[in-house]
Amino acid sequence: MATELATQSARAPFKLGLKQVHLPTFSISLHHTPHLSPSYAQFSVPLWFSKLDLRDYLYNAYAVRCVSIRSYIKLQRLTQGSPTGLNGESNPRPQYKRWHRPRSLKRMTVELESPFVWPEELGREVLDEKFDKGQMERATRGQEEMQKGMGSDGDTVVDETRRRRMREQAKELLEGRSKWKPVADQAFGRISGR
């Protein structure tokens, strides 16, 4: 083990730390940053992470050499709701007046010795086929409209489709194209005894 460390430190471009972490519990994720040059890679890291930690982690776990690292902490906006969900739910429900600021996020931008380009992005057809993007968009839109009607100014929401259908039905009745029928309610007659 000592000889392994020695050979590794001889090859490392920087001075390796002495503290050995055998079973790390944290995780980092790579961001796709098309606005940055291929010489740069951005990561989401734990809030307690340092630049030296990231450099060491990338070198030991991924054999990636860094030239320089920049870090910044992204403050999260105030949110209504409990900080932690019940029974470990991932997205806790919003709760009125219970404000809190979620934990900040730390991002680090690394300048790479060798450039890296993200694999080619998937087209709209592939996303529709594999991820059902169209269905997701329709579902999201429907949910938003429903939530608008349930809000505090829900009575201002106008259903244009219903208005148009009502107008058409009225026109049909007046012109005699259709006949008026009572609303079919199966339980109505039985309950009242008629």
Partner: protein
């Protein structure tokens, strides 16, 4: 352009320096006393004909904020008209050659997709159980832990990308995959903890056990069966303070009254 102060001396001096024609060689005699003056008309000392003083500050007058441009003294090695221009059209730019063995491909799956579809994410088995891992060596367990750690990073990377692109579904499948990987890591930690407790219990028992020698000499055995049984062989050498006390044993009452010295 050097500006000289105009004195009467300089004016008339220039007149005198011009090569006169023979007919108009000398000034009239009544003016001669004026030219013979040694003292100048002006009491102030004449301006020296030295060249103008060098600028102390070579960047005088140059301002990036005021957009003054460059001073005349500044000479650039590059001609402004011949500066390289950026290629604005991305399709015309040269492609970057990525090393096929780049370390950052560790954040992607084996087929190096930009995104993992829900089917791909769902195609996983169950995590390792504690029963299966109990028989594994430290090296195997350590490797398994790191394989799991890199997989967690991979899943999180793909999740982040899916949300950025707003691809669609896949959150549920990713969560399920992550759960299995984490359960493997938990099982590894469980097995290692169990082993440590077993080792600790053994160590505590070994301290009391006479058959176990926790600090054997080099080449010697830690377990010496029957070591504590032969008590006659065990001879306690008297320490210096015990020899000085002689037969006196502290804590044991002799029953005799202490004699006065």
């Amino acid at each position: 352009m050097a500006s000289k102060h105009c004195t009467s001396r300089s004016l008339f001096g220039s007149l005198l320096q011009t090569t006169p024609h023979r007919s108009t060689a000398l000034p009239p005699p009544f003016l001669l006393p004026a030219f013979a003056q040694s003292t100048p008309f002006s009491t102030t000392s004449p301006v020296s004909s030295k060249p103008t003083k060098k600028w102390n500050n070579s960047t005088r007058g140059m301002s990036a904020i005021k957009r003054s441009g460059l001073n005349k003294r500044i000479k650039l090695s590059v001609d402004l008209a011949k500066l390289p221009r950026p290629v604005l059209d991305p399709s015309l730019r040269s492609q970057v050659q990525v090393d096929p063995n780049h370390g950052l491909y560790g954040f992607f799956n084996t087929t190096r997709d930009a995104l993992m579809s829900p089917e791909q994410l769902h195609a996983h088995g169950r995590g390792w159980t504690v029963q299966e891992l109990r028989v594994k060596s430290w090296d195997d367990l350590w490797r398994l832990w790191w394989v799991s750690a890199l997989e967690v990073n991979r899943i999180k990377t793909y999740e982040q990308e899916r949300e950025r692109v707003r691809a669609g579904y896949g959150a549920y499948e990713a969560e399920g995959r992550l759960k299995e990987v984490r359960s493997t890591q938990k099982a590894v930690r469980h097995v290692l903890t169990e082993r440590w407790y077993a080792w600790e219990a053994a160590r505590v028992a070994a301290v009391e056990d006479p058959e176990v020698d926790l600090f054997p000499p080099s080449g010697g055995r830690g377990f010496v069966p029957g070591r504590g049984n032969e008590e006659e062989d065990v001879k306690t050498e008297k320490l210096p303070f015990q020899e000085a006390l002689g037969s006196y044993q502290p804590g044991v009452g002799s029953g005799q009254q202490p004699t006065a010295p």
